[in-house]
């Protein structure tokens, strides 16, 4: 039996997990091997040092600190959501208001012209012009997207957006607000 194997058995013996047959072989080896006998004495000393070690006691206010941390409102996450919502609405508003601004401006101008029919006709004409412009823009964008390179870029962009959205949703779901129950502290 090699000394290395004996050391493995010594470890098991310290934990009370060495079968009786191996324990007898270990004893026999120790009786004839001064190096392993010395090692065994040292291992036992180390084990007794650890077995007698007390539990380190936590500070008395640990529970209170933990409860304060888990039950405080998560203003950071809330503020982040509000900022994201405002930014999203702002972007959407800017996109929608841009074409409408022209129509509104035309309506204001035509409202100052004499005659209701003239005003309505001018407003309608302006609206039609805006709609035509939007349709033309949409057509150009669609055609641009249908070219092979643009389609790939658009798909990549869509994919990236989806990944970012999923990441955000995952982050938000992990940092959910603590549930409030009937019982309080």
């Amino acid at each position: 039996m090699r000394c290395h194997e004996v050391h493995e058995w010594m470890s098991l013996r310290l934990d009370g997990c060495l079968p009786a047959a191996e324990e007898r072989q270990l004893e026999a080896h120790l009786a004839g091997c001064p190096a392993c006998t010395a090692a065994w004495a040292e291992w036992q000393e180390i084990a007794s040092l650890f077995e007698g070690a007390p539990l380190a006691l936590p500070p008395e206010d640990l529970t209170a600190k933990v409860l304060a941390r888990v039950h405080k409102p998560r203003w950071g996450a809330f503020a982040g959501s509000v900022i994201a919502m405002v930014a999203g609405l702002g972007l959407l508003g800017a996109l929608l208001l841009w074409p409408l601004a022209g129509a509104c401006s035309a309506a204001m101008t035509t409202a100052q012209m004499p005659g209701l029919l003239g005003v309505m006709a001018a407003a309608l004409a302006q609206l039609l012009e805006t709609a035509t412009l939007l349709a033309g823009t949409g057509r150009i964008v669609l055609l641009a997207l249908l070219t092979p390179h643009s389609a790939a870029a658009a798909m990549g962009y869509a994919l990236l957006t989806m990944v970012a959205l999923m990441g955000w949703l995952r982050m938000v779901s992990h940092r959910r607000m603590p549930r409030r129950g009937a019982a309080g502290l």
């Binding site: 470890s11 180390i46 040092l49 888990v70 009937a182």
Partner: protein
């Protein structure tokens, strides 16, 4: 005896008193594990707090088939091991602030001195071990877990735990032998060579 599963269920349903009871019941074991792993009182407190915050956020993932203590110690163990891995470039120094486990105030000064010496010896031995060995020793000696329970807690096999315990003990013995060569009269060696200091109960 407190029904941990019931407390966990109540805490999951939002019962703050139930969660407070769980924290109170496990603060000792969790803090001790963190202290033995990280070596300083400040880091141990921070780690214990973070462990309980994680427990709170993950209550819905708790599997009642497992012992609650194993689950909570598993979270604490993984957190401490990760933390040690992150700071590997700055190894624990015995010169850092260390606070010995609190002893009763009426303890005799010489007993306190011996306890402090033992404590320093233990933390010194733990500090030179890789974190994977250290956590196995801590769970074995302070939390009295079996090989199988340690394996479940750390998500590994029983044979891996046996091997790590064996290597940890071998490493500590070698560390002591090296130290004995340079400081032949340090604490544990005095005990080994027969000038034993009294052991605390």
């Amino acid at each position: 005896m407190v029904d941990e599963h019931l407390l966990a269920q109540r805490a999951l349903a939002g019962d703050q008193a139930a969660f407070a009871e769980l924290v109170h019941a496990y603060q000792g074991p969790v803090y001790n594990l963190a202290y033995r792993m990280l070596g300083t009182a400040a880091e141990a407190e921070e780690a214990a707090q973070e462990t309980f915050v994680r427990v709170y956020r993950r209550l819905d993932t708790y599997d009642p088939q497992l012992k609650f203590s194993s689950w909570i110690l598993s979270i604490a163990s993984h957190y401490c091991v990760d933390r040690l891995r992150r700071r590997r470039i700055v190894p624990l120094s015995l010169e850092e602030e260390q606070v010995e486990p609190r002893e009763p105030a009426d303890e005799a000064p010489e007993r306190r001195l011996l306890a402090a010496e033992r404590e320093q010896e233990i933390q010194g031995l733990l500090a030179q071990l890789p974190e994977a060995y250290r956590i196995v020793l801590v769970l074995r000696y302070w939390h009295d877990l079996s090989y199988q329970e340690i394996a479940n807690t750390l998500g590994t096999s029983e044979s891996a735990i046996k091997a790590k315990l064996h290597r940890a003990r071998e490493s500590m013995a070698q560390h002591l032998a090296r130290r004995q060569a340079t400081q032949p009269t340090s604490g544990l060696e005095r005990r080994v060579t027969g000038h034993a200091l009294p052991r605390s109960a």
